[in-house]
Symmetry: C2
Subunit: 205 residues, 2 copies
């Protein structure tokens, strides 16, 4: 082989290896890297694809107050980014880069063939709970809806607004200030990992 041919062959080889390595890296890391919280300055960018994330649980008309009003009940769906979910399954707690989305939907009862009970309709609210080392305290809450509907991004709730959320999550969250006691697929994972705070567990009924 001539020197020039050797060089060409090495370049071709190196180039191909690079192409395949990049393709493999992009393909394998795509899921992991893209779902971390994105900030625009200090605003959390509302994730647009959270409905393709992992569903953790749904509630209907859940309330933490004895004096809840008697208005129409809403559904609350909780989703988490896939990379954080994979880390939780492994370690029983949330990694840096966790985003929990609380999607609030109106409920309807009679429609189409349904004669009773409740099903989900339009989005009426959205909140995020984010764990990111860039946030003071490591976690923050964000309100991703305003009077005009969903917003493109939001600042963390100010301390005065957030204090009720923070205190309640710190006091009652089963794992790392989150309400894992209401996410049935994660309860045993956290128990096995020893990260579950038992006094926050739902009463057995």
């Amino acid at each position: 082989m001539l020197a020039v041919e050797k060089h060409m062959f090495k370049s071709l080889f190196g180039g191909l290896v690079l192409v395949f390595a990049l393709a493999a890296a992009q393909a394998t890391s795509g899921q992991v890297a893209d779902d971390r919280p994105q900030f625009d300055g200090s605003k959390l960018v509302r994730p647009v694809n959270y409905r393709e994330w992992v569903f953790l649980g749904a509630g209907l008309g859940m309330t933490y107050s004895e004096n809840a009003g008697s208005g129409p009940q809403s559904f609350t769906n909780v989703f988490v980014n896939p990379s954080a979910h994979r880390a939780f399954l492994k370690n029983g707690t949330w990694p840096d880069g966790t985003t929990l989305i609380l999607e609030i939907r109106a409920s309807a009862s009679e429609g189409s063939i349904n004669k009773g009970g409740h099903y989900q309709t339009k989005v009426v609210g959205m909140e995020a709970h984010v764990k990111d080392a860039r946030l003071p305290g490591g976690w923050a809450f964000f309100n991703l809806a305003g009077p005009g509907g969903l917003v493109a991004g939001a600042e963390p709730l100010a301390p005065a607004q957030a204090s009720r959320c923070v205190e309640c999550h710190q006091e009652h969250g089963a794992v790392d200030t989150t309400f894992v006691q209401f996410y049935p697929t994660l309860i045993d994972v956290a128990r096995r990992a020893g990260t579950f705070t038992d006094d926050a567990a739902p009463a057995r009924r």
Copy 2:
């Protein structure tokens, strides 16, 4: 370069290209290829990772009968395999290889800090609705739970058992015999694609 060196180099080169190509192919096709229905003979293998699939909606105590009992209400969560979801977003209908999982969970009301409403607890039932060209008629229903809990796999429901499901889904399913009218993120996708049967839509409330 000696002939033997050339041969080794070519083998090494070919081997490396093969390794990278396989890695890239596996990484890119992993999501798409692995979520199609798997059969063991004529039995559908119960998918074990459906909780990482796409959540379509939840109901509580939904009933299609005027004479529903007054027993405890269950939650019904519906999940679909990601490749079928991607195809639906593109075409407004389900591709061959669609699996819809109906996960039935018990509900609880008072537990931990919750004072009202309902949240989800243990799995009490599971059904699948599968579109696969290998099935007679293209679609079939499967009961993935038995008296002892979830089963590893199940035959399609026999015609006598399935006829009530089939008739109701054919008559009232908004898209391709499925109840898209209860999956709020898909309704507009199907309307835009012209695949939504409007007379099955929920009443506006």
